[in-house]
């Protein structure tokens, strides 16, 4: 893999009043690299994406996405954009391709339609892409969101909990799709998630945020009992069960609101 940064953070700090979300964060995400951003609720995962989107200013330091806004594909957290009034799924995917451009977009309609259809097919959404978006299930909406983010062939893909409300089969399909995108097109991926297992096999780097502290490294470096106990400042155990990582902790902060993966595996 060529080392060509797509995202760069230097000495980046983010504070809201007294509270420090993270400070002196320096990291680069290379082209084609898959970075998982983990941490408990309120640790500043979503804020990190907002910084990269230019919607949140850093308290200090710099953040840069090479290529700017038009190079970014973005999968928002579900429910972040509840409106989507009177519009079909396929229209939203199309807007992901060229919605930021001026004009009516009457030229190159055929080519455009083809690309949109390919993107819809890639997430297996042909059946429902023509329906009103706000009448679709959470999982269906999420797949179209991924298609919308990928259709413009972004050089940086920012995902905020993209696997939420997807069943296991679709979690795998979407993870594979994103993995293929970064391999074939060299897209750098920042993947905010509370659940690393569905993407564990693809992840190059983990950024783990806890209470203003963070750790960056390969999954096997960060996802260890020792490192996470240091981060949480509480005894935490990382258990490897058949290649799945499970974080068990005495501290309540470790347990998150989201349904736990053990239950999902059983369900």
């Amino acid at each position: 893999m060529t080392t060509q940064p797509a995202v760069r953070l230097v000495d980046a700090s983010l504070r809201f009043g007294e509270r420090t979300l993270w400070s002196r964060l320096t990291m680069a995400v290379q082209r084609g690299e898959f970075v998982a951003v983990l941490g408990p609720n309120g640790s500043g995962k979503t804020s990190l994406l907002k910084v990269l989107l230019g919607q949140q200013r850093l308290s200090s330091g710099t953040a840069e996405v090479i290529g700017g806004a038009s190079a970014i594909g973005y999968v928002p957290q579900q429910g972040a954009s509840e409106a989507a009034n009177a519009i079909r799924g396929i229209d939203l995917v199309g807007l992901g391709l060229d919605g930021q451009r001026w004009g009516l977009g009457l030229r190159g309609m055929r080519k455009r339609r083809q690309r949109v259809e390919e993107a819809v097919a890639a997430v297996g959404a042909e059946q429902f892409a023509g329906k009103p978006f706000n009448q679709l299930s959470g999982g269906e909406q999420q797949r179209l969101r991924v298609a919308q983010a990928l259709v413009g062939e972004p050089s940086v893909l920012l995902c905020d909990e993209p696997l939420l409300s997807l069943d296991l089969a679709h979690q795998q399909a979407i993870s594979e799709l994103i993995d293929r995108q970064r391999r074939e097109a060299g897209t750098a991926v920042l993947f905010v998630t509370h659940e690393i297992n569905p993407i564990l096999q693809y992840v190059d780097q983990v950024l783990y945020l806890v209470d203003g502290r963070f750790r960056i490294g390969r999954p096997e470096e960060v996802m260890t009992t020792q490192v996470l106990s240091e981060l949480y400042r509480a005894p935490v155990r990382v258990v490897n069960l058949d290649g799945q990582l499970h974080v068990a902790g005495a501290h309540s902060a470790v347990c998150e609101d989201e349904p736990h993966h053990v239950h999902q595996a059983a369900g």
């Binding site: 919607q55 973005y74 928002p76 954009s81 989507a84 009034n85 919605g99 004009g103 009103p132």
Partner: protein, 291 residues
Amino acid sequence: MDKFGDVELTIDLLALPFVQTALLAAAILGVVAGVIGPLIVRRQMAFAVHGTAELGFTGAAAALLLGVGVEYGAVAGAVVAALALGLLGAKASERDSVIGVVLSFGLGLGVLLLWFYEGRASSKLGLLFGQVITVDSANLTVFAGSAVLVLGVLAVIYRPLLFASVDPVVAAARGVPLRVLTPLFAVLVGIATALGVQTVGVLLVLALLVTPAAAACRVTSSPFVATVLSIVFAEVAVLGGIVLSLAPGAPISAFVTSISFVIYLACRLVEWARSRVTGRVPQPVSAPASR
């Protein structure tokens, strides 16, 4: 009332030049309303349109008093209103109450201005309930010019505006300049509203700017089809309303609003009938959790 549905009289009246001017103005308004309407519906701005119209009335009343063309006053009032609403009610949570506050003040001011005015009373009522006949060939130029301006600007900003309207979070992420588009669209709505004030009147602008689009959005989610349907509905309502109002010499608003309302009901009926049909298709039932 016996003149109702008098076909011969209607045909005679249709031959008159000022009636034809009125029809032309109405047709222009129909296109503008049809194009801008679906965006108003998607952005949930119906109440904002009403508030803007009331301020268009204030501007028109001021123009009447000053002896300036009513059309200029309506445009100025509506645009100022649109900008004020945009500035004061930037937060969605405050928008509703800000519109209520500005709207009532504007209406009160307009009433005061009309009280000062000592001209024909019909000009006063015309502003409230519409009097398309007041559009003569001189101000038809201003009317058409405003319409072309609105449509021209919309053609340039349509795609990012649609993106920002239906999907603001991702649109912002992709670099769509929401801070420019929101006030710009408010101004366009202001101009379109002012056009409506001159024809259907302050109180009934919604019947053209919102009802046809709301009807269209009940039966389709495709932006293109919604726009075409909304133009057709708006034209049917406004042209049909004028033609029906000719013989009895009644204000056109009653007819325009009635036609648009009937179209809206029909679209809801179509939507309901469709949902019953698709409802019969067996839906995949999710298995109960095995826990």
